[in-house]
Symmetry: C2
DNA sequence: TCAAAAGTGTTTGTGGTACACCCATGG
DNA sequence: CCATGGGTGTACCACAAACACTTTTGA
């Protein structure tokens, strides 16, 4: 019953890379230039090297596609149904990555075509990647409510209005300005910077996320 | 870049089987009778067959160890650091299973020794299984607060006192009897049966979990 | 001086928490 | 009739939600 007695599946990592662009949530997809599903859009990913951890593999893929390094990355789910890949048994460990808003991707190291897609208007996807993207979205919506991952979709500095707007987009509902500001200040997860952003109308103070913030809240209990 | 160009890791599933026994949370461990870590206790698991899904493999392991079939099973996390198994690269997809309270295990199909261990008094574990068990416990505590998975640790019929006791054990804190009863009835997740359990003192009505119950509550928002 | 966005408190309602006594049965 | 666990209602407090006007700048 040693490991080598069994035929082995292949193992890949796929990274659902999500950002906030053009007032909506978008996901980065690549066009496959090889069979199977040649020409279809897919979540970027690749085989795990034998000497790297799963997270390292995910960061490598992420870096190859976007050039960014220090971003939020979390394991999402492992997909392993037989038959999900026509090449044979392939088990895929999916990750979710959140990258800051104004990221111009273009020019991954591959020649593959890559572009952002609105999460509400996705093309047909290769493999079981539609399930993967849906799960990532569910998890993000869920997690954003009780933790501070939302900040990982914003640039380092932002105004309170931009922050509120981001939350409205992610949650899909409008929020009250005064309640939002009060609560976010009470939560002590952001701190003011010395900078001001001018634009149309009155200039706004810029804030940044406090890295030391304890940004999790206990869930409301179903029955205490 | 075909799948076969890469050397492949082995893939296993491990199942953290949790139950409620002797007024505490316990986990089922097996004593390894082969190297590596021969003689150490470990989370039950095994290699994934090429023609079965990950969940099927997990249910197979679960059934081999406990004989039970229809229990709560959920994917927990995939552990894949190189070096976590001295035999070579082994990636393990961990599942968490909740089995109903009065389960007498004994006599798995293997000859391996298996027994329940209190989660607060674990022996040294093989591989990275200590991390695995800790993660399972964290997830259970967390999940129990906003969903109804707690019922999966109870037999089909139970009294309200038994249910409250179970919640107190899982959450690790005492609960108020009247508040608990009011809230659980309002949640409409259980229904009374026609049966009564007699014992010492006044007999208690038996309840059962409503399978149709929508038993998730929205998390309290960090900032709305 | 006007347009545009930033910023700022109070009131009201709901839900969470704390708390003590009577009831039904078996021995 | 007594011991044991089962079952029930109310009062207070804290936090969430609703709501409108003043301020600062650039054009």
């Amino acid at each position: 019953m040693a490991a080598s007695d069994y035929p082995k599946p292949s193992v890949t990592v796929d990274v659902v890379i999500i950002t906030l662009r053009a007032e909506e949530l978008q996901v980065l997809l690549v066009k496959r230039d090889l069979a199977p599903y040649k020409g279809r859009w897919a979540v970027p990913g690749g085989f795990v090297h034998l000497d790297e951890s799963l997270e390292t593999a995910a960061r490598r893929e992420l870096h190859e596609e976007t050039g960014v390094a220090d971003v939020y990355l979390e394991q999402l789910y492992t997909f392993g149904d037989p038959g999900r890949d026509p090449r044979g048994r392939v088990i895929s460990v999916a990750y979710i990555a959140l990258v800051p808003a104004p990221l111009t991707v273009e020019a991954g190291s591959d020649a593959r075509e890559a572009r952002w897609w609105s999460l509400s208007k996705l093309p047909p996807l290769a493999f079981d990647h539609d399930k993967m993207v849906q799960l990532a979205l569910t998890r993000l919506r869920y997690k954003i409510e009780y933790s501070a991952v939302g900040f990982r979709l914003l640039p380092e500095c932002f105004t309170l209005s931009e922050l509120q707007k981001a939350y409205e987009i992610i949650l899909g509902e409008p929020l009250d300005k005064r309640n939002f500001r009060r609560r976010i200040m009470e939560a002590e997860v952001i701190e003011p910077t010395d900078d001001i952003r001018a634009g149309e109308g009155r200039p706004a103070r810029l804030y940044r996320f406090r890295r030391d913030a304890v940004a999790e809240v206990k869930a409301r209990r179903l029955f205490p």
